[in-house]
Structure formats: C-alpha cells, structure tokens
Amino acid sequence: MVIQTIGLRKTFVSKGRGGKKEVEAVKGIDLTVRKGEIYGFLGPNGAGKSTTQKMLSTLLCPTGGEAKVLGYDLARQQEQIRQNVGCVSQAGGADLSSTGVENLVLQAQLYGLDTLTAKKYAAEFVERFQMGTFITRPAQTYSGGQKRRLDIALGMIHHPKLLLLDEPTTGLDPQSRAYLWGEIKKLKDVGVTVFLTTQYMDEADKLCDTIAIIDNGKIIVTGTPSELKSSVGGDTIVFSFQTEETARKAETLLTEKVPKGKVQAKNSSVHLTIEDGETMMPDLLRSLDAKSVEAQGVTLSRPSLDDVFLKYTGRSLREDQIK
C-alpha cells in the first residue's frame, strides 16, 4: 500500500469572540491507495479534501488517527515522507518573479540534488512538459495553463514515488485540462502513484482508477468509477415516438420484453432503466420494429458520478458548486 490511513482526523481550533471554536474538517478517514493507481478524492468545496492532502504531505499535523505514507509513519518519519513524496498545492507555489528554470533548479536542490543533477532534471521536465518556449521568462508572465504545468513539474522534479495533487485543473481552460490529464495518466506507466483531489465529476471519471467521495469530512463511498455508477442502478434508454399512442404500445411491448427493467411512458417517449443498456439496445429496437412500432429516436445515457453523489449525499455536486 502506498497510502493507508485509519481514522485520520483533523480538528481546527480557532480562538475568537465567545471563546474557542472547534471545526472538524476531517472526521476520521480510512483510505487505502494501491501502488501505481490514480486515486481521486472527490467532493465539494470545504469537504476536507485539501486538509487531508495537507496531512498526507506533512504540512498539517493530524489531530488523531494513524497514517502510513510509502510505508513511513506520518507521525514519526516526516523527513522520509518529504523526501519521497511530491506535492502540488492548489495555489501551486511557483515563485512568480523568478523564471521557471530558476524555480525548477532550486526545487531540485531543496531535495538535496547537486546543482548539475538539478539542472539536468529541470531540463528533462522542460522537455517533457513542452515548456521550452516560456520557461526562461519570469513565471508571472505565464498563462494559467503554463503556470500549472510549472507547478506540477515542481512537485515532480525529484521523481517521487507518490504525487499528491490538490485540485490540479481547477480554473483551467479545456485544452490545458486535457493536456494535464494526459500527463497525469502517463505517470502510471512509470509506476508513480497519484493521489488527487477534485471537485469535478468528469475529471474523477476520466482519470481515476479509484474514487472516494468525501463530504463533510467523511468518506461516503469508495470504488472504481464503473462500480460507483452501477451502484446507482444502470443505464437509461429513452425511445421517442411520433404519438403518445405509439409510446404506450411500446411501453407494453418493452415491459414484456425486459421484465427486469423499469419501463415508463412519458408523453410520446418511453424511459427504460436497465443494467446493460448498450448491448440490449439493438435487440430492443429490432423487436419494436417487428411489431411495426417505429421509434423516431433513441438515446442511451449512463449514470454519471453526479448521480452517484446525489444518491449518497442527497445533494447534487453541481448545486453545491453554485452555492
């Protein structure tokens, strides 16, 4: 196991008017991250994602619980954890008035590398992340996507075995996001484990091998994206027809055909919820055709992680983001 935590907790105490106030940011988290996987920590703002990430990177001291990171004890072997883990915070942390190269070389040196190796590693990442066109300029001149690439290169400069990324693509344009997703996926090929936090469903879905949904300081459910999605109950096929009458005919036919599915006519369309929508669809269309019930259109929708979030928390993640 690359990361293993048992009952990891963090309570912040703030002193203000009316005495001490305690805020339980993380309320006892058990998680297991396997070697070489991309593990996504998905949840709304304020769920405790960053707090957990900061505890794992030794930036915050846990209030309770135990954790092992790369086999090292979080409470006692912080030096070893720091040396072997790479970490990119939400703010990024590039030194804006320095150039990208200066940032990269210093960061490598802080991990104990000599100047020559540091320069070599910096050059390697400039090449790998295609930063050659801008890397000798001060970082304050970079676009959002360029700066993010530098931030992530800074976190990886010492070739860590585990990379912790806090909301790596928040606020980026679609191209930059797609580019970073590609780069993060490539890390799997070289055996790097990635633990990332995100508030984006699509990011967790496309990128992660395992997802833990966190809400209000607690993990609500863990699983692979497809496990989580099938837990909310299969695919939905919507057939649309010319008239309501045809729709009702189709409803009867489909109910006979798939007794396991949930069939419901709504105006001139029929909604069918079924485990394995994709492979069932051609057969269903054929049998409708055989009875001269002609569908005008068919759509297949698979459950999204948003449906998963809704099922387990009773709220939509999107609603949370609007607030």
Binding site: L59, S89, G93, A94, D95, L96, S97, L110, L154
Partner: protein, 253 residues
Amino acid sequence: MTLLRDTKLMFIRNMQHTIRTPVFVFVSMFQPLMYLLLFMPLLNGLQGAPGIPAGQAVQVFIPGLLVLQALFGTAFVGFSLIDDIRSGVIERFLVTPVKRPAILLGRVLRDAVVLLLQCILITLVAIPFGLSVNIYGFLLSLLLYALIGITMASISYGFALIYKVEDALAPTLNTITLPISLLSGIILPLALAPLWLQDLSKVNPFSYAVDATRSLFAGNFQSLGILEGFIIIGVLAALVFFWGVRSLKKMAS
C-alpha cells in the same frame, strides 16, 4: 552540513529577488538621508547641550541614524514573506526536506547584507558633513547593525507568519519600532532627557546598541558599553530568530 547548504540556497534565492528590483535598496535609504539633510542641521543649534559636545553633532548623530536605519530598514521585510505565503511558495518549501531554520536564515541574512550596504552608503554621504570614523570601530559597528537588522527582520517575519495577512502587520510593527527608536536616544541623545525617561530607556535593549556604536565610531574601545551592546543585541537576535522559526513550524500544525 545540510543546514548550511539549505541556508545558502535560500540566501541566493532571496538575493536574486533583491537584485531583480535593486531600486528598493535605495528607496529605503531615503528616510535616513532626509534626516541627514533636513534634521541634522538643527543639532548644530544644540551644540554644548548635554550629550552633544561642541562641534560633535555629526559624530553623535550618524551612529544613531545608522541604528535607525537598521531598525526601520528591516522592520517591514515581513510583507515580502506574506507574499510568499499567499502564493504558496512557503508551503512548497515546507513539503521538501529543507531545514526549517534555513528558510528564515536565508532571508534574514539577505536583509542584513542589504542593510550593511545601506549603512556604508549613508556613512560615505555623511563624511563631507564632517564625520570622522575610526575604521575598526566602523567595521565592528557594521556587525552590530547586522545583529539589529536580524533582530528586527526576525520579529517582522515572526508576526508575518502568525498573521499571514498585511492588515495587522503594519500597525504591529509600527507599535514596536516607534517606542524602540524614541527610547534609544537615536534622534537626540538621552542625556537631554529627564531622569524617568533615561531610566525607561534602560529597559530598551537597543539603547545599549546606540551607546556601543557611538563609542565605536569615536574609537573608544575601552568602553564597557560596547561589550554590553553586543551581548544584549546578540542574545536578543538569537531569541527572536528562534521564535520566528517556531512560528514557521507552527504554520504546519
């Protein structure tokens, strides 16, 4: 030794920032130069008063002015640290195995170097005004200014690490520097002060530094005040530096 190496890396990084915008090194010399040009002439009218021997106004004033520069020139360095906290730079350093004291030591040493450059320039400007300097005394004085600078910079960084925002930092630093400078006989010698004020100044560690540097400029190496000044400021610098490091470590808690 890792601490030495890390401190060097951090010093170079901070020095690069200073060199990138060198104008600020000179901007913060504006205040002492104004004192030199627009205030020191007033002292000529006070010649013969207690603490200002006839013809010695510049001799009394310049060492104090350099202490003033050491206090105010470094008191506000905390703002640059807040920038680094906000942009995540400090957190990025803290997730590496870098030695914690090195993060602050690299900064205060840079501040000390900048300060010494300013002190040398101010002294050079003062020579045409009739200042005579004992060169060994001056070199020892520079060491004392560096210690004062390290003290003030550490205080400034310590509060920056506690507050993490600018709003509270400026008033706090002003509240600290003003009584320190008034109670150390920088602008006017404390010999002019009523007894109660002289007594009060004895609890201000920086008043010993001012006495020490005046003796050094004059080449009075036998003066016991010199040793006293070095010990008091040296201990103070060490104390507040470690307090600053503790604030830095507390950030990760």
